[in-house]
Point group: C2
Chain length 242, copies 2
């Protein structure tokens, strides 16, 4: 309770907020089990039904996973999850294959005004800048530029020139405690610039799908910007509207 600004949200929403904050702050680590529903109800002083409704909300937002007979667990970013929820590219037949990555550049720089704005930073703030190519079934069909605020990813670095199979979002969570909860994407068709065309083995001016993403953490703060260029000769970006 807070006399100055009483929380008028329903009890279950307040309960959900409390539980979410514990997850966001790492009080319960990703992958670990959280207490049984009756225990939570007793601790928080609400009925089991209210706890259940709160947990249902967290489950729909995929912050937790509940399994009958086993318990409730804080969701960990597995490669499968990152691949299924945040990788919207498939082959023409609809098959979704895990890509590999080849890091071309990785540097820490001072953000220009244009780089700072989408991430809600001040111009000049320290920023990690990554450029990589991604291969699906051995073919280089994706170019990606990524910007990360140094403040959230201290000491971040990727090995240039080496092949990577790990999903970045798994790495963010494991090494920097940053969980990506959602992302917004804006798509456009562009003509390939000369250098990008060369990297993808295309002619200058070939049509490319540009995917501009801002990814947000559990507290809905922007923590990653990435621009993906996809050669759609053999792949599609898929979206579901419902």
């Amino acid at each position: 309770m807070n006399a100055l600004r009483p929380d008028s949200r329903p009890l279950y929403a307040q309960t959900e907020a409390i539980l979410m904050r514990r997850i966001a702050e790492g009080f319960w680590a990703p992958g670990s089990m959280i207490p049984p529903e009756p225990d939570l109800a007793a601790e928080l002083g609400v009925s089991p039904g209210t706890v259940r409704k709160a947990l249902g909300g967290l489950e729909r937002r995929r912050l937790i996973e509940r399994r009958q007979g086993r318990g409730t667990f804080v969701a960990a970013h597995t490669s499968e999850r990152a691949l299924f929820h945040f990788f919207r590219i498939t082959a023409l037949d609809g098959q979704r294959r895990a890509p590999t990555s080849h890091v071309l550049e990785c540097a820490t720089v001072a953000a220009s005004a244009e780089e700072a704005q989408p991430l809600g930073l001040a111009a000049g703030a320290a920023l990690h800048r990554v450029k990589r190519a991604r291969l699906i079934a051995g073919a280089a069909c994706i170019l990606e530029r990524i910007w990360l605020p140094e403040a959230r990813f201290p000491g971040f670095a990727l090995p240039v020139g080496r092949e990577m199979t790990d999903e970045l979002y798994v790495l963010y969570q494991r090494d920097h405690g940053v969980t990506i909860a959602r992302a917004e994407e804006r798509l456009a068709a562009i003509a390939a610039a000369p250098d990008d065309a060369g990297l993808l083995g295309l002619e200058e001016g070939a049509p490319l799908l540009e995917i501009a993403r801002i990814a947000f953490d559990l507290q809905d703060r922007p923590v990653e910007r990435r621009v993906t260029l996809l050669d759609t000769a053999a792949h599609r970006y898929i979206a579901n509207l419902d």
Copy 2:
């Protein structure tokens, strides 16, 4: 109950299925109020809590709208809803404006094998084929080809050459009893063909965003195929991942 194939789904899921079928079959018309929760519970022989859970599922799928103090209503496809859920195109500043349409062609034909397949039809089935341009803020930036099975849209026709402001999905529901519940889209970047470039005022080979959509009705049957070509000079396709 059915002795041969007993329904082992939870009661609330069975209840949800029953209510959904009534909506899909038009037992309750779009926009009309459905009975109060206690009445439904009594009629179906389940507890009010079970009915509530079933209605919650229908609400999340946007088949119904519940308003405290007023009642529960079958969702009607308003222009706003069609625009917000099924129109993913915005201006560069993120503004979403309602487009107008200019029908270029509208004909009923026998489906080729390629046209029949995505809609789950047999080759030769009757099909309505539409081509239209869409304007946002007076600028023609969208070309659209649409295919509809005659069986679901008997007598369908659009006035060629006239300006239209109604959303097609509102018209499908009002005039043909077809409610679009969800859609799948596959996106690619392509080079503009000569005739399409001409209609959009672009040069041949200019990059265009191609959006291939299959839309499904309440029973999850494919009922519309459409291919949209978007000039992304001043617009973006937006997607949310969460």
